[in-house]
Amino acid sequence: MFSNEFWIEWLKYFDKIVGPAVFATMRMVGATMILAFIIGFGFAILLAIYGPQGLRPKKKIYNVLEFIVNTTRSFPALILIVAISPITRMVVGTTIGETAAIFPLTIAGAAFIARLLENSFKEVDMQLIEAARSFGASDMQIIFKVMVKESIPSIISIATLALIGFIATSTLAGAVGGGGLGAVALNYGYQSFNNSILYTSVFILFIMVQVVQSVGNWWYKKSL
């Protein structure tokens, strides 16, 4: 089975199709991660400020934010990608390809990250926040010097979890015209009965997840 011809064939596919798809996936996941983390972090901070146990509880603002996060979170990723395609077309100009996939992935990812970060900010000991207040720290200082600072290990594990999740959803985006490894595994592998491409893609995804998880674990331990 693994004859010379097989490897020549495999190398050709790898060079022309799988290889570029790996970089496409990395770009897609990388861009999603950066954008979703920035937006999610912002939302989480706002949720932590205006939440019922927050620094300046404001029920109305919190409810609006909460509604946005919950609504977005209630869509399964594939459905969200399809459902918001008109908006994607408005924002990106197309619904096909790598760049078009980043938009829905970012929306879904931001909501996911926002909720997880909010939870980890909420877990910061109330007395610690009181202590910071007692020496005259401002709300901004309490957020960044106390809440975020104390949450860094859990922020790292949330980032690891999110990144692995984005690798998975990026392959879903591939199924509906997003490109990347998911599209290759489906179009050139599964639907073309080409097992070598299918399992090569699967193996590369496996390696990606392992690397992300190992780096995440190492960084988490270091941050404690």
Partner: protein, 330 residues
């Protein structure tokens, strides 16, 4: 230093503080005691504006806390340090960075921060732990670090919220000794919230006992312990005493003057009567010892004993067999 007048506060329907009046002079160590839910921690938090109050006034150093804007209250809090039961240190920062945190928040220069942190570490007695993380410290050391952090802004007032409640008795004692030292060396007024009697006795000059949002008793700590008001008894709980069925049970309170004399044996010799000693205790207070002894005398000697007590200025009271102290006392 702190004048509290007719202070009230409620959380929804629950009245937590119900007309509190307290005066705390500058330089004093003042104790707020009471059972859980008596409102003592809420009252403490009103002093530095962590909690708001509904009615009445709370004036610290001539400033009514309620009148302060959000910005002013941050400035106001620079003068008030606070320590907590669970130490409230940042787990991810070193001892140095934890103590430096208030100074970095107020943007002091690095050289000043370095100088101040090292000076405070010397004072709290753990200069070798400068680069340790809180998880490497014992409870007592953590509280020392928290005290150092509370002192970084050179406050005039230090608030202690159950600061020794999470510590074992010996460590608690060393922390109260440190508080005493801070009070004497730096002249900082200290307000302590606690339910631990040994802490009260060893550091506080005056105390106020809170019961369901009201000050039931207040005054110098020795006086309160000698008078044994009902609020204090409620707080300590009833003593389990094995009282005699026959004769009369009497509790003699040993004040500073009385406790230095062999008053009991002297009475036995002078009156030539016999009696039994049922129990007794002596406790160390800030500057002296106070305590009580419970004796059982035969009924026929009561008048003799009463007269002896009166002649010698001994404070005493009857104890009924159900544990209640009788109203007739001298």
């Amino acid at each position: 230093m702190i004048e509290i007048k007719e202070l009230t506060k409620s959380f929804g329907d629950l009245q937590v503080l119900n007309g509190i009046n307290i005066d705390i002079p500058r330089g004093m160590i003042y104790g707020l005691v009471g059972r859980s839910g008596a409102g003592k921690s809420t009252l403490l938090r009103c002093i530095n504006g962590l909690e708001t109050y509904d009615e009445g006034s709370l004036v610290v150093d001539g400033v009514d806390v309620k009148s302060l804007s959000r910005k002013d209250i941050r400035e106001f809090r620079k003068d008030i340090g606070m320590i907590f039961q669970q130490f409230s240190l940042l787990n991810r920062l070193t001892v140095y960075d934890n103590i430096a945190l208030p100074l970095t928040c107020w943007k002091y220069s690095n050289s000043y921060i370095d100088h101040k942190v090292k000076e405070l570490l010397e004072m709290i007695g753990i200069p070798d732990k400068i680069n340790a993380k809180p998880r490497e410290l014992s409870g007592g050391q953590k509280q020392r670090v928290a005290i150092a952090r509370a002192l970084t802004m050179n406050p005039k007032l230090l608030l202690c919220d159950e600061a020794t409640s999470a510590l074992d008795p010996k460590t608690a004692k060393s922390i109260t000794a440190l508080l005493n030292q801070i009070n004497q060396d730096l002249g900082i007024t200290i307000v302590i919230v606690t339910h631990q009697m040994p802490v009260l006795r060893s550091v506080c000059e005056e105390i106020a006992i809170l019961e369901s949002g009201k000050v039931e008793v207040s005054g110098p700590v020795e006086q309160v312990f000698l008078q044994q008001p009902q609020a204090l008894k409620n707080l300590i709980g009833q003593e389990d005493l094995l009282l005699m069925e026959e004769g009369i049970n009497i509790k003699i309170l040993l004040s500073r003057e009385i406790s230095s004399q062999p008053v009991i044996t002297k009475m036995a010799r002078e009156l030539a009567i016999d009696f039994m000693v049922l129990g007794g205790e002596m406790d160390n207070f800030r500057n002296n010892k106070l305590g009580s002894i419970i004796i059982n005398i035969p009924s026929e000697h009561l008048n003799q004993v009463k007269k002896y007590f009166a002649d010698n200025n001994v404070i005493w009271e009857f104890i009924e067999r159900n544990g209640q102290s009788s109203a007739e006392a001298g």
